[in-house]
Amino acid sequence: MFTNSHTLGLFYNKGITYEGESVLDSVMISRLLTSSTLIFHIIFATIGVGMPIMIAIAEFIGIKKNDNHYLLLARRWARGFTITVAVGVVTGTAIGLQLSLLWPSFMKVAGQIIALPLFMETFAFFFEAIFLGIFLYTWDRFKGKWTHWFLNLPIMIGSSASALFITTVNAFMNTPQGFELKDGKAIEIDPIAAMLNPATPTKVFHVLTTSYMTMAFILAAIAAYSILMKKGGNYHKKALRMTMTAALVFSLGAALAGDLSAKFLAEYQPEKLAAGEWHFETEKNADLIVFGTIDENNEISNEIRLPGFLSFLAGSSFDTEVIGLNDFPEDERPPLWIHYMFDGMVSIGMFSIFISFLFVLLWKWKKGNEFNKPLLWGIVASGPLAMLAIEFGWIYAEVGRQPWILRGYMKIAEAATRADGVAWIFAMFLALYLMLGILCVVVLIRMFKNKPAEAELEKRFPTDRKEE
């Protein structure tokens, strides 16, 4: 399908071939290191995109209803947020530099084309960082409460815009356009076309909605857990109702974005959809395979087969022709295990919609009890599960474009660094992430354990206790 892949020899610096085990090892280690950095960073990036929205909503309701519970909620969330922001910033810096350190040949070529969104991402991040600093230290500084609330706007814009710009870079790597390759150099560059590539709209939509959704579920999980442990006061009940409503709205958005993404894949990256769905023969009325296992002969067993649904997913009609994996040369097919990632992501998505819908239904239905134990435990599970779905989704998206780093133009193996010492670096970073991960959790728990919400409410808003 991609005949231009033969021009790849041009990327081979000074005619070196990449045969031989030692080089292959360094490619593999570069991949592993990049994956671990991203897998770790994505947790904090997702929080970074989702959290400002949730804080802004809570503060908005608090001011609007003149309800100190929500104001305290916003404050406590913001306090925990500072810790995750710190880890997010440092791991983001790491991935930014690792791009050049681990994939120098890739950056030499693609750097010319993706410089613009990378640059814009930094600006958005800068903008956010400035206002986040102001926001966190001006809670009691302005006379009007709304003045402080308005600081939320640049933070939300900055965090979502940086997600947008960096996602266009990833989208570009999936569906590159806006340049031509000549002698291993990019020419005829159109930076805007490269940013607004076919993958951009669905990817950005999906990234933003799932980040908002995940954050809502994580905060809901914390509230639900508090209620379960201490039978919770009004503070936690309000928090849970608010976060679950937001979670329902955002997860419906995420489902819509997911559906549009599948349609995008069917049209522009059929090999990713086909590998994820174990779909080998090009056909109409293609079956959707849910769960199941596959053996080395590509025989599928234990699956649930939904007749015609893959066609429906790909083009809203059972007559849509879905391209199968057999249409692609063997060395250009993504690994088949990404099916499990796809299943995991979609199942968790379904569970999220179900549980948030059930909660809102029981709450609005006068006779229901939305605070019943099994449901609360379900919500507790939904937080970490949502984050897991983010990881599954990204692994699916990234491994699904293997073996390409720049789909159709450059394969992973030609892009990796040829410097020595990658294995050592990998071990060092792994230790770093392990340490940061553990400390982050420890610090966060300690931060809130000794300062229960009720006590803080009394301290901060002393006159308010009469209301309850």
Binding site: V90, T91, T93, S100, G111, E121, A129, D140, I187, R446
Partner: protein, 337 residues
């Protein structure tokens, strides 16, 4: 002005910005730990964290901005520096990561934990040392390009007198810049006890700063004569730098005009840094990358400059607001807000 000159100027301005704000931050970490050890934390550490808390993230962005811009304007740098700096670069990232997150852990999470503060202080001195290797490498002589790709001659770097002079300069400058700023800040806060300690620091670190600068010149002459001669052509920039250094030290010594003293320190480093940068050209990485050969294509370069200007229109007012609220607001500085 041509695209490459604009590009490199933009980058150099941001690197200079990082040099100043990061030095304050790095040095502050060291002083905070020192004060804790001496049992003077209550005055000085409150002062330091009042300044650092709202701005520490912004510091980091200056750096990110620099390397993203560098790869954007000069994509070839990604290939050479990327390959050469795999190990020193990764070490710097790890140190930065530890430092950034430990700041948050110790400041927001667990104030009583001295381990976090120690690591925070120690990394503040190791990071400038590891980052300065990138500048050293740019002088040439530490990379070898063969058919196999680019090799970093780590042994050569570790035994080079020039390399050590740069490392030494980076560490003492960090302590000097930081002390000069914090003296000013303490003075504004009316915190005379901290001011006196920090003033002593500033005076203590000023002779090593100037000795290290001269050492760098001397070893540059041996390492890269061409660069040294270029620097001599614009000797007046380094002369101005020395003049501002003298003014700053004198003001701090006489306990006068700490604000002006810090501005002099900024100008001292401005002239030294831009003099260094200007005499470094046309090479970005000798002998592989010159600014003419590696500049990005025109369309992308123009797009980057447009975005850069638009970005500045957004950032300058925001930075002004940040400074007004936390740096120039007397009540905040004094801890009343």
């Amino acid at each position: 002005m041509s695209l490459e000159v604009i590009g490199i100027s933009v980058l150099w301005i941001f690197l200079y910005g990082y040099l100043i704000v990061a030095s304050i931050d790095f040095g502050a970490g060291f002083f905070a730990f020192y004060a804790r050890m001496k049992g003077k934390e209550h005055t000085m550490n409150a002062l330091i964290s009042r300044y650092l808390s709202p701005v520490w993230e912004v510091t980091n962005v200056f750096f990110v901005f620099f390397f993203v811009g560098l790869v954007g304007f000069f994509p070839d740098t990604a290939y050479y520096y990327g390959t050469a700096l795999l190990i020193p670069g990764s070490v710097a990232i790890i140190l930065l990561a530890i430092r950034g997150s430990f700041y948050a852990f110790s400041n927001y999470g667990s104030k009583e934990n001295i381990g976090y503060l120690f690591i925070y202080g120690a990394t503040g001195l190791l990071i400038p040392a590891s980052l300065s290797t990138a500048l050293t490498i740019s002088e040439g002589g530490f990379l070898k390009e063969t058919d196999d790709g680019v090799t970093f001659l780590a042994g050569k770097l570790l035994t080079s007198p020039y390399s050590w002079s740069v490392v030494f300069l980076s560490i003492v400058s960090v302590l000097f810049i930081s002390a000069a700023f914090l003296t000013y800040y303490a003075n504004r806060a009316g915190d005379m006890a901290s001011r006196e300690i920090l003033r002593k620091f500033a005076l203590f670190w000023s002779p090593p700063t100037i000795i290290a600068s001269l050492w760098v010149f001397w070893s540059l002459k041996n390492h890269n004569e061409e660069h040294f001669m270029n620097a001599m052509d614009i000797w007046w920039m380094f002369g101005l730098s020395l003049l501002f250094f003298a003014l700053a030290t004198w003001l701090i010594y006489r306990r006068k005009q700490f604000g002006l003293a810090f501005i002099s320190v900024m100008l001292q480093f401005f002239f030294a840094f831009f003099g260094y940068g200007a005499s470094h050209l046309p090479y970005i990485l000798k002998p592989f990358i010159t600014i003419g050969s590696s500049v990005t294509n025109e369309v992308m370069g123009t797009a980057l400059i447009i975005v850069f200007i638009a970005g500045l229109l957004l950032l300058i007012p925001s930075l002004y607001l940040l400074m007004r609220l936390f740096l120039f607001d007397a009540d905040y500085v004094k801890g009343k807000k």
